[in-house]
């Protein structure tokens, strides 16, 4: 379709795209316009699209208005450790699926697919019971373990798919030279899989960074809140400072947007990979 001349249908479709993009981006533009207003300009009628006075200072003040740094710190630690556990499990498991023969391989593959069917909401009651049984309710550990596990099926699949695409001869040559299986994985396969490892890592991290419902269930101490939870709690206050809230929301979303753009190519392939097989 790329060599097609620009007929009426071309213009219609591009115009449609522009409209959809406009509507999709509008909330974020308006969030930015709100984040840059002084409090006095929040509830004026008629409302304005742009601030009269540009309160750039809001992006500085928000860090003291909300314990944003603490929430971000909690989220970095929780998502970071969850990602670490996730990768430590997913790399060998993905490799095993791609390369090794072992009993129960089919079962393992199917079990992974089934875990995708259990949405977090379906699991949350049982998870809550599990965490209260081992006295982990209201701890970061409960979230770390849960996030690592719930993003695991995706990572295993994604990595297995990538490992399969690496020619087996390279590993065989390494193993002929006296490398062990583990040695071949660490010294040959992993260095060749850097893009996939980065994508899986980023994906697992974003999963934890954005997760809301499980954190809402497990965490009750304000100091232990993750970023989405902290932003949500801000909403519950008697009089909401929407300018700060919007600034916090944009600060939370910014890093994810950059990461998303980094792994754009892998994103879709990975997300649909599990379901196609």
């Amino acid at each position: 379709m790329k060599h097609r001349e620009r007929g009426l249908s071309w213009w219609l479709l591009v115009a449609f795209l522009v409209i959809v993009l406009g509507i999709s981006i509008f909330p974020f533009v308006f969030a930015l316009s709100t984040a840059l207003r002084p409090r006095s300009e929040l509830f004026r009628f008629p409302p304005t699209w742009l601030p009269e006075t540009w309160a750039w200072k809001n992006f500085v003040d928000v860090w003291t208005a909300v314990p944003l740094l603490r929430y971000i710190g909690n989220s970095v630690v929780i998502s970071g450790l969850a990602t670490l556990f996730n990768m430590a499990c997913a790399i060998p498991a993905g490799y095993a699926l791609a390369r090794l023969r072992f009993p129960g391989k089919r079962l393992f593959r199917q079990a992974l697919l089934v875990t995708q069917m259990f949405s977090p909401v379906v699991l949350v009651i049982g998870l809550f019971r599990l965490m209260s049984r081992v006295h982990l309710v209201d701890t970061s550990a409960s979230l770390i373990i849960t996030y690592a596990a719930l993003s695991l099926a995706f990572s295993v699949w994604f990595l297995a798919g990538y490992f399969e695409s690496i020619p087996m001869e390279i590993e065989e040559a390494a193993m002929m030279d006296g490398c062990t299986r583990v040695g071949a994985l660490v010294r040959v396969v992993l260095p060749m899989s850097k893009p996939a490892l980065v994508a899986a890592l980023v994906f697992a991290f974003i999963w934890g960074w954005n997760e809301f419902m499980i954190a809402l269930t497990f965490i009750s101490t304000p100091d232990k809140r993750t970023l989405p939870l902290g932003i949500y709690a801000f909403l519950g206050q008697y009089s909401v400072d929407w300018n700060y809230l919007m600034a916090a929301a944009l600060i939370a979303g910014g890093p994810v947007l950059i990461l998303f753009l980094l792994i754009e190519k892998h994103l879709v392939k990975g997300l649909t990979a599990g379901a196609v097989k």
Binding site: M1, K2, R4, W10, L13, V14, L17, V20, I23, S24, P27, F28, F30, R44, P46, P47, T48, F85, C89, A90, P92, A93, L100, R101, F102, G104, T115, Q116, S119, V121, L123, V124, I125, G126, L127, F128, R129, L130, S132, T146, A149, L150, L152, A153, T180, R181, F212, M213, T217, Y232, L235, M246, A249, G253, F260, L261, E264, V268, T272, A275
Partner: protein
């Protein structure tokens, strides 16, 4: 699990593993998947078994089981008119969001597949609502629709489309419309990108051949593009149904089901029954039904589409 593998090792061999030899492959394989299996059993399978047990038990407000209760929890659910209404609402919400999203995403993907200046920028912009979590999308929309002084009301009044402000999240109909709109907007990016990936795999020779035969854009769309991207469309729809059905933060942040459970979906109602009202028994039963519903849907969906593809192949 390792025990099974160990018997494979020949006696007298050095105890050090020789993973490169074929004999020990099952051991290495099992060891490699062991951490993943442990995680999945603990965090996915154990909770679902616990939930299943709860759904057949009397459960106290601390989520502790207190003896067998038969199907009492399920019976309670089906005599609960609120639950039945919410079940219908959930189906309506899922069909509306996934349906409209797909209809919008197809032309968006077609346009993104064109060559034009700013295509990269268009893709980057489209990713924004996807990268921002559901929660952040929902919070921003809550502000946009907030109370009387919202920007939407202001703009509509300036355009003389309405005479007085509408409390969008205050009444059932407008709140539903808002929730569905937000649901669609956050689903468009994934759907479009997924369909775009499908479009890019269609060989361009096919279009060129169609062009030679005098086929217009829409003719080649119906007869070449759509049949070829159908597998991608099927997978995307399936995933969207699962995502949307389970989409907790949008109704939770926008209305929390108000007024009076009229904008709840199954997952928010389930959550409320369990963690606000302490009714873990009926909530567990609801979780099991949700799971079975999605499982039945996925199996049925893949069955039907496989059959259709089979017919087409003949």
């Amino acid at each position: 699990m390792a025990v099974v593998g160990e018997s494979d090792l020949r006696p007298g061999r050095s105890s050090r593993w020789r993973p490169s030899s074929l004999r020990s492959e099952p051991v290495v394989g099992l060891l490699f998947i062991l951490p993943t299996v442990a995680f999945v059993v603990l965090i996915v399978f154990y909770p679902i078994v616990e939930t299943a047990l709860m759904s057949f038990s009397k459960v106290n407000s601390l989520a502790q089981r207190e003896g067998f209760a038969g199907v009492a929890n399920y019976r309670e659910l089906f005599s609960d008119t609120v639950f039945l209404r919410i079940l219908a609402q959930t189906v309506g919400w899922t069909v509306a969001v996934v349906g409209i999203t797909t209809v919008v995403a197809i032309p968006v993907a077609l346009a993104l597949n064109f060559n034009f200046r700013g295509r990269r920028l268009a893709r980057a912009l489209l990713i924004v609502p996807w990268a921002a979590s559901l929660m952040i999308n929902a919070i921003i929309w809550r502000w946009i629709l907030d109370g009387q002084y919202s920007i939407i009301n202001g703009t509509l009044m300036k355009l003389h489309l309405i005479d007085q402000p509408i409390i969008w999240l205050g009444s059932e109909q407008t709140a539903w419309a808002a929730i569905i709109l937000v649901g669609i907007l956050v689903s468009i990016p994934f759907t479009s990108f997924s369909l775009l990936a499908g479009l890019q795999s269609v060989p361009s020779e096919l279009y060129e051949a169609a062009l030679v035969d005098g086929a217009g854009f829409w003719t080649s769309f119906w007869h070449i593009t759509l049949p070829l991207i159908r597998p991608v469309l099927v997978v995307t729809t399936l995933l969207n149904v699962i995502y949307v059905f389970n989409s907790f933060p949008i109704p939770w942040v926008l209305t929390q089901g108000a007024p009076a459970y009229h904008t709840d979906i199954l997952v928010t109602y389930l959550y409320k029954r369990a963690f606000t009202e302490g009714q873990f028994g009926p909530a567990a039963a609801m979780a099991m039904l949700t799971f079975l519903l999605l499982l039945a849907f996925s199996l049925g969906f893949s069955h039907v589409t496989r059959e259709r593809t089979g017919v087409n192949a003949k």
